[in-house]
Amino acid sequence: MIPERMVNGAVLAGLLVVPLWAMVANEPFTITLATRAVIFALAAVGLNIALGLGGLVSLGHAVFFGLGGYAMGILAHHAQTYTPLMEWPFLIEGTKSMPVIWLVAMVTSALAALVIGLLSLRTTGVYFIMITLAFGQMFYYFAISWAKYGGEDGLSIYVRNGFPGLNTLVPIQFYGLCFGILCLVLVLNAALARSPFGLALNASRQMPTRVETVGLDPMRLKLVAFVISGTITGLAGALFADLNRFVSPTMFSWQMSGEIMIFVILGGVARLFGPVVGAVVFVALEHFLGGLSDYWHIYLGLLLLLIVLFARGGIVGLLSGRERTHD
């Protein structure tokens, strides 16, 4: 067994070294793959807060991913067509500035998570899964029918949005930005897991009656976790849209929700680096197996089956054993 800290360190090192090597070797496509993995990882870190800490099996996280994507798409679309987003009652214009887009993406996702959470958290178990899935489908079909923003075809953004001081069109610079955000969110996630809130949330997942008998409200704890979770996944959505310079209703699809969940389960539910490992493995499989066969999902399914049957802690759990209790 390898200590979890070392596994995490190795993953971080890999995410630093491989893109740098790709830059030196002039392999921009590898950097794009790494960026894709890092953004997926960020989306899954978001889900892991709801799923791992809060025990909320959300099959609707594509809602937040898509909202982040459309926040970027809509703002950048108005900026590149020089049309205002709205003129009345006050003027709102599009923007090509990443920080503004991120803020909009996160606020929109947080509000959506608040509303969806308030309604979904009345249910548990399979009903919770179904209701979050239903919300996902609602957003998906809404996006398809929203002709103003491309409907089924989505929106293309011709130039990647800007970040002060960086040239985001250079792959390694955009990668560095995404990687930096992932690291920051991981630090916050680690703090959250050990905080008073993390303790209470963790107990709410295991034994809500206990939390209630010490005078706390497990529902509210889970709702806040769901909002934090959705906010992070929303930010990832904005980055993903910027990576592809394209946003379409697929980002809202239930397949997307499923993929985000697969990242978490593959890597290890409730493990800090589980979602990161899961996303990296997924993107690697997608690339290498996808090159061999169009039906590479069969192998992914097989791997997922093995993980679920024999390694409940995911790949991280397989490598480093049970989570250590910290003192």
């Binding site: 959250l192 107990a203 008998t213 010490v214 003192d327």
Partner: protein, 249 residues
């Protein structure tokens, strides 16, 4: 007689045709242990669920420290200082022993909305939690996972979590169940001293413990309190003998 800490007034609850709680009037005085005994199916657990919250009575009301709490949710009653221990341990099994008592301390402090500083480094929460563990004698296993504890240790942990709330009254649902002679004797000694801190409503099957501890006993049969009195009165009561003690001896 002083004002009771906890009181039920004609509490009734039916499930279909079954009257699980039938006009129950109980009170808990400061400094006392009031035991509730009764045969299986007498409605003891139903009664506790109504007192602590989670089950709404059909009729009657519950007052705690002079406040009508009938309509309040469990967590509000807990905040007022009503501490409950469960018959079947309700603990966070994956967490450590210390984390479980910390949760109690956190609840008592009423501040779970802190997201950054590690809870383990909060000196005031931690000392409150460790004190509670010390008192029930679980300090040695504080870093163990709760799932690894013996049955008896889990019962002690239940009590420790209740202690962290620094409650005004305890409601304990069969704390002795499955403890064995030794453990049961130790817990009896502990509860004996605890009543000075806060009165205890004790639902218990272990008659030795009940007779050793209780200041008063209420006997519940088919949802009704057929008798309330001191140990001697209950032992002498003909009705109780017929309804309950007679059956078991």
């Amino acid at each position: 007689m002083t004002d009771p800490v906890l009181e039920t007034h004609h509490l009734s609850k039916s499930f279909g045709a079954l009257k699980a709680t039938d006009s129950v009037c109980l009170d808990l005085q400061p400094g006392e242990i009031h035991a509730v005994i009764g045969p299986n199916g007498a409605g003891k657990s139903t009664l506790i669920a109504q007192i602590c919250g989670g089950l709404q009575p059909d009729e009657g009301r519950i007052s705690f420290q002079g406040v009508d709490v009938t309509a309040l949710p469990t967590r509000a009653r807990a905040k007022m200082g009503l501490a409950r221990t469960f018959q079947i341990s309700a603990l966070a099994m994956e967490d450590t022993v210390l984390q479980n008592v910390l949760l109690g301390a956190l609840g008592a402090a009423g501040q779970p909305w802190r997201f950054f500083r590690p809870v383990m480094q909060d000196a005031s929460l931690r000392s409150r939690a460790e004190d509670a563990l010390e008192r029930v004698g679980l300090s040695d296993v504080r870093t163990s996972r709760t799932a690894e504890l013996s049955h008896g240790q889990r019962r002690q942990l239940e009590v420790a979590v209740a202690l962290t709330l620094q409650p005004r009254a305890f409601v304990m649902d069969e704390p002795m169940a499955g403890l064995g002679v030794d453990g049961s004797r130790r817990l009896t000694g502990f509860l004996d001293e605890l009543r000075a801190e806060a009165p205890i409503l004790l639902v218990e099957h272990d008659m030795d413990a009940v007779f050793a501890l209780a200041d008063r006993i209420s006997v519940l049969v088919y949802g009704r309190v057929i008798e309330t009195g001191t140990v001697a009165e209950i032992r002498a009561s003909k009705a109780v003998r017929e309804a309950y003690l007679g059956e078991s001896t």
